[in-house]
């Protein structure tokens, strides 16, 4: 069976990709997607640990389920906010949305 480290590295890579997206995408929805990627990376870790650790009583998977749920809720709220934003700004490019600064 594949060693744990493979999963860890994979999740690190996913995490990184997500972070990169979050840092660079102009589109708010794009950023949300990137965030979802990061959550997935974390979930992957959880599941991997809960699989590999001897004493891990599936807490990992439980946690992952909650993370997914919460992520879903967050996404819903996020998208609602994005819609509201679009009504106000006629754009969802976050770097055009900076009324408040300094």
């Amino acid at each position: 069976m594949v060693p744990l480290s493979y999963y860890l590295i994979l999740s690190v890579i996913l995490f990184g990709i997500g972070m990169f997206g979050a840092l660079t995408r102009r589109n708010a929805v794009g950023i949300l997607m990137a965030l979802e990627l990061m959550f997935n990376a974390v979930n992957l870790n959880f599941v991997a640990f809960s699989r590999y650790l001897p004493q891990a009583l599936m807490q990992g998977q439980i946690f992952a389920i909650f993370v997914i749920t919460v992520a879903a809720a967050e996404a819903a709220v996020g998208l609602a906010i994005v819609l509201g934003l679009y009504r106000n700004f006629q754009t969802i490019n976050v770097d055009e949305i900076n009324l408040m600064k300094w």
Binding site: A22, I31, V94, D95, W102
Partner: protein, 664 residues
């Protein structure tokens, strides 16, 4: 009767001050009633006390503790002994006369009440000075008279020159006082007390000459300030801005002699400091000549007398320096009479000329004002030291003692001074009273003798100027006066041994020279001076001008009083101003700046300019600020409002922290 009556002597004038001071506004023209009464009574009491002291009784009375702080114990208290009694008599008597004189002189002046208030206040302070039984209380009087002279010189404060003169007098005196007070500290730390009795009791040569020299020199600095000796004499001529009675009382008779009194009072200390004594003598002698030379060419009648005063004070210090304290004090007394007389004479002249003070616009006044003329003549003779008038005896003693003590050069200076004195006094006399009037017609018609209440004092003083010397001072060094004051200077005499020893060589041949010879010499010198004056200003009035032309440089030098004032001005005032201004700039810019700098930086750091109230600092701080400005902007600009910059910041933070922990 109880000697504690002495308390009344200063107290009465003080009461006068309070009444006139508080209710002057209502009393107005009747102020003199109170003031003169107060002065008169205190004079009376002074005599009462005097008669009690004749039995050799003295009083050292602590009225109440003034400063009781740990081992520093200073009472308010009086010391009545021959020395202080003499001073007290002079002060109260002359003071009283001048009060009377002032009634006429100051008549109709706006500040009539104010004037008499000040005059009484002066009497009070001066009496505290002479009657005090400790140095600190003396210092109180010392400063008090300074204050009064300030107030009285600046009496006509609307004249800028007057106000300036007042300030000058006070500040110059303060410089002297600084020395005085340091002297007090030394006395206190050395002898553990400031009371005369205790200090002098504690005096003993074992302490070493050094400390005595220090103390006495510091005290003498005070004396030079108060008694207008080199180099602090500059204030006295200007002091003539004050009303003439003031000049007579303060700047001739009494206050200026305080220095002499103080030296005489501290004789026990001075005797153990031969060096200081020499200094005193030299300064005295030099001042005597120096002032006399200036007096030669002055045209302001009062200034001539003023410089003559300086010069006479010089003689007193010469005497004191020679250890002949009795003579010094004796001269002080006689001088008080004839110099007061001179000033009052000037006063009545100026009075009748409506304030004219330039001698070149006078002349031939003897017809118009005989009393003034004759009294003035007497005074001049006395001042010139002509036998047998008061001045002769005292000055003669001084010169003699100086010679005996081997202070040859000071003695010579003294002689020269005597000659000059005689010359300028009679230059003055001839210019003012003889010849024909050189003023304008208007004044010419209004020439008049002074009113009686101004004339009587002149007469009284005239009499005194004549007889005082003979009655009190004959035979020299052993007259009534000398026997009276002897007890105080007992100490001095026995410890003269020290001095004697120090200058034994000189004493040897001096002993031979008889006093008579000396007297003759000085008399001759004086007469010569008079003769020359007669020649110059009566017989051949053209000579002076010619002389002045020939010796233009010297003439100007004297006329401008050696430019000493200008020198001081340049050094202290201009430079001082500059320096202060510089400091002020430093304060506003740097000191303040350095501190404000931080706040300034803080604000630049947050790129705030709206808070304009805080714009102050520049220069150095500014440079730093600008330097930082660049970076500071970025700090605020970090808040770009762009979400992903924020996220980036977080990410960077994480990188930083993780790296910090994993690799550092």
């Amino acid at each position: 009767m109880d000697m504690k009556l002495v308390a009344l002597v200063p107290l009465l004038p003080l009461i006068g001050v309070l009444i006139n001071g508080l209710f002057g506004a209502w009393i107005k023209e009747r102020a003199h009633l109170i003031a003169v009464t107060a002065a008169g009574l205190s004079c009376l009491v002074a005599f009462v006390v005097f008669f009690q002291t004749l039995g050799g009784a003295t009083l050292d009375w602590d009225v109440y503790p003034w400063l009781n702080v740990g081992d520093l114990k200073v009472p308010i208290g009086f010391l009545v002994d021959p020395l202080s009694t003499v001073m007290m008599l002079v002060v109260t008597f002359v003071g009283f006369l001048i009060h009377v004189y002032s009634i006429g002189y100051m008549h109709g002046d706006r500040g009539y009440a104010r004037f008499f208030t000040y005059l009484n206040l002066f009497m009070f302070s001066m009496l505290m000075l002479v009657l005090a039984n400790n140095y600190l209380l003396m210092f109180l009087g010392w400063e008090g008279v300074g204050l009064c002279s300030y107030l009285l010189i600046g009496f006509w404060y609307e004249k800028k020159s007057a106000a300036d003169a007042g300030k000058k007098a006070f500040v110059v005196n303060r410089i002297g006082d600084a020395g005085f007070i340091l002297g007090l500290f030394f006395i206190w730390t050395t002898f553990g007390s400031l009371k005369y009795t205790e200090v002098f009791a504690a005096v003993n040569p074992e302490l070493g000459v050094g400390i005595y020299t220090t103390i006495t020199l510091l005290l003498f600095v005070g004396a030079t300030g108060k008694s207008a000796q080199l180099p602090l004499y500059v204030w006295l001529p200007d002091a003539m801005e004050g009303p003439t009675p003031v000049s007579a009382l303060i700047h001739a008779a009494t206050m200026v002699t305080a220095g002499v009194y103080m030296v005489a009072r501290s004789n026990a200390l001075f005797n153990l400091a031969p060096f200081s004594l020499e200094v005193v003598a030299w300064v005295g002698a030099l001042t005597a000549v120096f002032a006399a030379t200036i007096a030669l060419v002055q045209n302001d009648i009062k200034r001539v007398v003023a410089y003559s005063t300086i010069s006479q004070l010089g003689y007193m210090f010469l005497g004191a320096g020679a250890g002949a304290y009795p003579s010094a004090v004796f001269h002080l007394g006689t001088h008080a009479f004839f110099k007061a007389l001179l000033f009052l004479g000037c006063g009545s002249v100026i009075h009748s000329l409506h304030g004219e003070q330039d001698m070149r616009k006078m002349g031939g006044l003897r017809k118009a004002m005989p009393i003034t003329t004759w009294t003035f003549l007497l005074a001049s003779l006395a001042n010139a030291g002509i036998f047998p008038l008061a001045g002769f005896w005292s000055k003669d003693e001084i010169l003699f003692n100086a010679f005996v003590r081997g202070l040859t050069i000071p003695w010579l200076l003294g002689l020269i001074g005597a000659f000059l004195t005689a010359f300028y006094m009679f230059r003055l006399f001839f210019q003012v009273f003889t010849g024909h009037f050189r003023g304008d017609h208007h004044t010419a018609h209004h020439l008049h003798e002074s009113p009686p209440n101004m004339a009587y004092p002149l007469l009284v003083l005239g009499v005194l100027s004549v007889i005082a010397g003979l009655v009190l001072g004959f035979p020299p060094d052993h007259g009534l006066y000398h026997r009276y004051v002897a007890p105080i200077f007992e100490v001095a005499h026995e410890s003269e041994a020290v001095v004697e020893h120090a200058v034994s060589a000189a004493t040897e041949h001096a002993a031979g020279a008889s006093e008579l010879v000396m007297a003759a010499v000085s008399l001759a010198v004086a007469l010569a001076g008079i003769g020359l004056a007669y020649l110059f200003y009566v017989k051949r009035p053209d000579i002076p001008a010619a002389l002045a032309d020939k010796l233009r440089g010297l003439y100007n030098l004297l006329l401008n009083k050696y430019w000493v004032d200008e020198l001081y001005e340049a050094i202290f005032i201009h430079f001082g101003k500059r320096f202060c201004g510089f400091l002020w700039v430093v304060d506003a810019r740097v000191v303040d700046g350095a501190v404000n700098g931080s706040s300034w930086l803080t604000m630049r750091l947050s790129a705030i300019s709206s808070w304009h109230d805080m714009k102050i600092v520049d220069g150095l701080v500014n440079a730093i600020a600008d330097l930082i400005q660049g970076g500071s902007f970025t700090l605020r600009r970090l808040q770009t409002g762009a979400i992903q910059n924020y996220i980036l910041a977080m990410a960077l933070g994480i990188v930083g922290m993780v790296a910090f922990y994993l690799f550092l």
